[in-house]
Structures are given as C-alpha cells and as structure tokens.
Symmetry: C2
Subunit: 393 residues, 2 copies
C-alpha cells in the first residue's frame, strides 16, 4: 500500500507546544488504525528560521510542501515577525503574514471553519438554545480584502494616503459559493443519516434541510456586494433543495450572538469571514477548540492546510497554558479530508481495479481514525478532563 505523507509545521509561539501534544496522538492513531501514513516535522515557516536564515522558509519551500498530501500547522503570524517589521516602510507581505502567503501560494482558496457547541466547553451566551450552535463558516481565502494591493503614499508624513485595494473576481466567487452549496447538501445528508434533521425556511416560506447564508456589506460596499449577490442568486438556482439567506456583516455579527442556532452554512469574504469565524469560535467554546481547514475543493492534488483558528499567542507561549485541542480537532479534519480525497480519487482512475480497492480501503481507515479522534475529543470535553498526549485516543 503506498503511503500517504503529511508535514507537521509547528511554527511560532504556542505552535510548538500544541504540536508536541499532537504528535503522540497521531502516533497512536497510526498504530491503532494501521494508517498508511508517514509524517515529517518541519522547522519552518517560523520566526526562529527567519532569525537564522533571513526568511520565513527556504527558497524551495513551496516545492517541498507540494510533495506532501496534507499539512498540519501549529501557529503562525501575529505578532512575532510583525514586531520586527519597520512600520514606517512598505511592509513585506511574506514577513508580515506568512500564513496568508502559504494559503495563497498553495492556492487553498476556501477556508472552512466548523463551529459546533460541545458540552464541557465554556458557554458565553445566556440563552440555552446557544448550545444548539452548529454552523460551518466558509471563508474566501484567496483575494478580496486580503489582495494585498495598495500602498502608502508619502508614508510617514502628515500628507500620507494609504490605500488598500479589494479585488473580487467572478471565478473565485463562483467556486466559493458553489462549494458552500455543496457542503450544505452534504451536511443535510449527514444529518439525515444521524437522524437529526434541521429545518430552514426559504424566502417563500418553503422548508429545507440545509441553508446557505451569504454575507456582504452591499449597502456600503456596493461593487463587490453586487458581484456576490448576482453569483449567489445564480448558483442558488441549481440547489433548490438548499434554503438561502442573506445577512449584512454587521447584522450577522449581532445575530451570531442573538440566535446562533439559526445558521447552517455561512459563506463570507476573506475579511468578513475572518471576523465572523473568530466570533463563531468563541460561541462554540473559544479558540482553544476551534479548528480550521484551508482547502482547494477543485483540485485534490493540492495538499490542504489544517490549523487551529488561534494565533501564535506569544503572551502565553512556553508556559504550558496552550490548549492543544484546536490542533487535535484540526488533525481530525485532516484525517477526514484524506479519507474524502482517497474516496473521490476513485472516479478519477477507475481503470485499475486493484487501485480502487486500495483507495477504498485506505479511505475507510482515515475516515474511521478521524471519527474516533473526533468522538474521543468530544467525550473528553464532556468529562471535563484536559486532553494531552495519547489521552485523546
């Protein structure tokens, strides 16, 4: 059986700690489920690597990463490298947000952040229905407000003008929104299997088992709001089984707090998604348990990047305070994705029967490892004991 191979990128700050807690869990899963899985721990991208080599990662980093089937990241980003940056000059986008560079260079255009409340985590809301929270926020990950274009004219003077250009394309919008509808359908199927069907109301009062809610700020940012609106309406026509809804981003933030149980799949731009996923994460118990997946749903050969939603938290790094569960939940997503991918590849190379059988078998192994890890994490949360090392499996 050919091996699947993944890279573990501890990164910065608490990244090392959460990864150290994750590796033994992965080892146990590999053994127990006989996963045909190899992993390798990479010392980059990281601020430490930057200190030694003058850049966040080696020159051939991208090529190396593309050789893996999937990537698991501990933490990267603010404010390690930022503190070193000279704020009065044009920033180097790689040193400012290496995470964004990774997502973009690997063309992982969708960021999926499931938020589901599990007994045992803090509940910040007073309404008991808040515990029914079960949404998936799908965030645009490749353009929009994060296009990185613009500059600082007359920087440092009293006449400075800073610009930031938001760029939204039909192609990136269409694939994102279509993916959201696909996921909504899939969630409805899974819920049906688990006999916990939900009901959503469409604009004409009809009942649907899933919903996609589009987020824009079309009343103030009309250009891309118009594009998103149009594409949403167009794609929705192909998914008559899915209810649709629209919220302005400010109203969405409010409703996440007032009635989070009303949302199913939420699809948002890069910046809106960034804000709403942090909000959804806190409503699902905090960043300590919030996983995320950066994927390219259209091209399974691109390694997906899984990471906790939290940052590198330099303020608590090295003090053994970091909660590894967001990373463990991300690992569960990774295993699930490997299962999905192996399953989907079947159709693509249906010529060799042995291959199909192999893939089928492998896919099953990864699915069941993902399922067990996820269930164990949830059981442990409910039991109130902290997860560390192999306790998780």
């Amino acid at each position: 059986m050919t091996m699947v191979s993944i890279a573990l990128l501890p990164g910065d700050g608490i990244g090392g700690e959460v990864m150290a807690a994750t590796v033994p869990v992965l080892d146990t899963l590999i053994q127990r489920h006989r996963l045909p899985l190899d992993y390798r721990i990479l010392p980059w991208p990281a601020t430490e690597w930057h200190r030694q080599h003058g850049s966040m990662m080696p020159d051939d980093a991208l090529d190396q990463l593309l050789g893996y089937d999937a990537l698991l990241l501990g933490a990267l980003g603010d404010p390690g490298p930022l503190e070193q940056a000279d704020r009065y000059r044009l920033p180097d986008s790689i040193s400012l947000a290496p995470l964004l560079a990774l997502r973009k260079s690997l063309n992982l255009w969708a960021c999926e952040r499931p938020a589901r409340y599990h007994p045992g985590v803090p509940c910040y809301l007073s309404d008991p229905r808040a515990k029914e929270l079960d949404m998936l926020v799908i965030r645009e990950n490749s353009e929009g407000e994060y296009a990185g274009q613009g500059g600082r004219l007359r920087a440092g003077t009293e006449d400075e003008v800073a610009t930031q250009l938001e760029v939204f394309t039909y192609a990136a919008t269409e694939r994102l929104i279509r993916h959201a509808f696909e996921r909504a359908r899939q969630r409805a199927r899974e819920r049906r299997d688990e006999k916990r069907v939900r009901a959503f109301t469409g604009p004409e009062g009809e009942t649907r088992e899933s919903q996609v809610c589009l987020i824009t700020k079309r009343n103030a940012q009309a250009f891309w709001g118009g594009l998103y609106d149009r594409v949403f309406q167009q794609v929705a026509k192909e998914y008559a089984d899915v209810a649709t809804h629209h919220e302005l981003v400010d109203a969405a933030a409010m409703k996440f707090v007032q009635c989070p149980w009303r949302f199913d799949v939420v699809v948002a731009s890069n910046l809106h998604g960034d804000i709403l996923t942090d909000l959804a994460a806190v409503l699902a118990g905090g960043l300590g348990v919030a996983p995320s997946a950066n994927i390219n749903p259209a091209d399974l050969s691109v390694p997906a990047l899984f990471e906790p939603t939290h940052g590198s938290a330099p303020d608590i790094a090295g003090r053994n305070l970091a909660d590894p569960r967001a990373t463990l939940f991300s690992l569960a997503l990774l295993l699930q994705w490997l299962g999905e991918r192996l399953g989907k590849r079947l159709g693509q190379r249906s010529d060799a029967t042995a291959d199909i059988k192999n893939s089928n078998e492998k896919s099953r192994l990864f699915y069941s490892a993902a399922h067990q890890l996820h269930e164990t994490l949830i059981t442990d949360l409910a039991a109130g004991h902290p997860v560390s090392g192999t306790d998780a499996v």
Copy 2:
C-alpha cells in the same frame, strides 16, 4: 433668547413609528425645561419621497439641513431603495445608502456609539461581569472602506472583476484618534465626578483611569494598518494619562463577547466600526436601545446627526413592534451635544458678555433636559415598562 432649531427626519420603515413616539417626548421636554428649541419634521430623505420625486431628497437638501443646529433621524437605508436598484449596473451610491451620503456630505467624520448595559434589557452573555459593559466605540465616518471607489469590470459576465478601493488619509486618521483620546479623558473626568473610577493597565503595567483601544487588521491589511499604528503611537504620546491598547478586529470581536467589561473607548475604521458597534449594541441589550451620534468634533457649526443604530427594519414596519428607545436615547445624546456645543462656543465669541450669559444658561438647560431624559429612560428600563409617548419624561 435666540432659538435653537433642529430637524426631525423620520425616514423609512420603522423610522416613522419611532419618530412618532419621540415627538411628544420632545414636546414635554421643551415645555418642562423651557428649552429655546424649535423643531421641524421633514418628509425626506425617504424612499417614499424617492417614489414621488425620483430622488431621496430635494436638490437643495444639503443647504436646508445645514440651516439646522442638529438633526435627528429615525431610520434609513437597507433594503428599501436597494430592492429597486438594478444590481447588474453600477449602483448609484445615493440611492443605495442615503445615510452614507448624508454623513459624508455634512462632513460628520466621527460616529460615536456608546454601549452601556442597563438593568432591564436582555443580557445575551452568561458572565455576570458582562453587565459592567460601558464602552464608547468611535467609528471613522468619512473614508476608508466606505470610500465608495471602485467598480465592476465586465459586470454581469463570467469574467467580472469587482474592485473596492479603501482610502485612508493621515488627516482623517489623526483627527479621529485625537478625538478618541479626548473622549477617553472626558469619560475619566465624568467617572471621577460620579465616584466610579475604573482602572486600565498600560503596556508597561502602569494604571490609568481611561483607555483607548485601537482596532486594525494590520497583519492582513498592512498599508492602512501601518498608517493607523503610526498615528496612534504619535497621538498617544500627548495623552500619557490614557492607557493604550491594540486589538486585531477579529480578536476584538471575540473579546467583546468574552470580556466586554475590559473596554473603555474603542476607535475603529468605518467597516470595523460598523461591525463592532452592532456587536457592542447587542451586548448592551440590543438595537432597541442603541443610540448613535454622527458629529464633526472640529467644527461645531456643522449640525450633528443623531440616529438609532438600527436600520429601517421593513419586516416589522407598520406593525407597532419597533422600540422607540434607541431614538429616545439618541435624542438624549442630541440634547447633550447641544449643551456641549453652546458651552464650547463661549470661548469662541467671548466679546459680548450678554451672549456668554445667554449661552451659559441655554447650555445648562439642554444639559439638564438630556440628563433627565437619559435617567428616565434608564429608570423605565429597570422598571420593565415599555416607553412610549410622554411616559419617558
């Protein structure tokens, strides 16, 4: 005594209802406090006016509005006029968001949205400390993400590219941040007078009675993040008595839910401020009690515009469900602002002793009317009875 004159703009949707509940309260206040105040109710800007005249307001609307000392708006905006707009064409920014047009044309560059929890309103958070919430979000109101620049290239096709240009200038950033520090100082003074001093910690561990928290997304939108950072650091030097803090907008959304009691003054860009003020409003009991002020702190001759933070809510319009209290709280802010303005004008024309005395007296009247309205609203909230008509004073 020369009269102060204000315009009441009911606007759209529930705007008419909340204004209808406000007028008798204003009448009573005028009588009881002998306010030298005239008001006039204007039928525009409004979708209805648009229907009849083809535009949201008359051609000389701006000139007319500039003739008043202050403006009180019921509700405007989404989605009345939006529904009529052809989404496949370049939108007309006036018909899309007349509110933004008003704020911009009147040069009301700061939007102030106080959020304070009062007993009697719904509390969405489970932590009892959430009731200590008492913050003022100051939002940039004239540029940034709402610059309205950009367009839709090849609109309606599969090659469409939509752009939205964010423009931030030193001048607008400096005045905004300076105003935030001024307000922080003022809040500390007021709290000292009321013997409810708060303590904030600066980055060096020092204790301060007030705090300004800057919001950016500098790790992903580095250009304007850099400008905001620089100006913030520079202005902060002049306000050593005020503690400073920075949060990324996503982390801020999270912390508003986790520990809202830690914030004092929050200063944010137009879009970030839009999202965070809706969030703050809900944490302070919902949009039913959230007021806002659009002001030009540098030029007191410009009429400030006060409005509830809520929109025109067409879904509940005409059904007598709208809560007029956000408008009444906004009226309290308006009266307070008139008091402040008359007080501050003293210095500007200190030549005529009679004028000073007059202004002084008038200022006192408005302050005390504002104070009484505000206290009555709070008492009524605590008593749990709904406010309508003259009950409020």
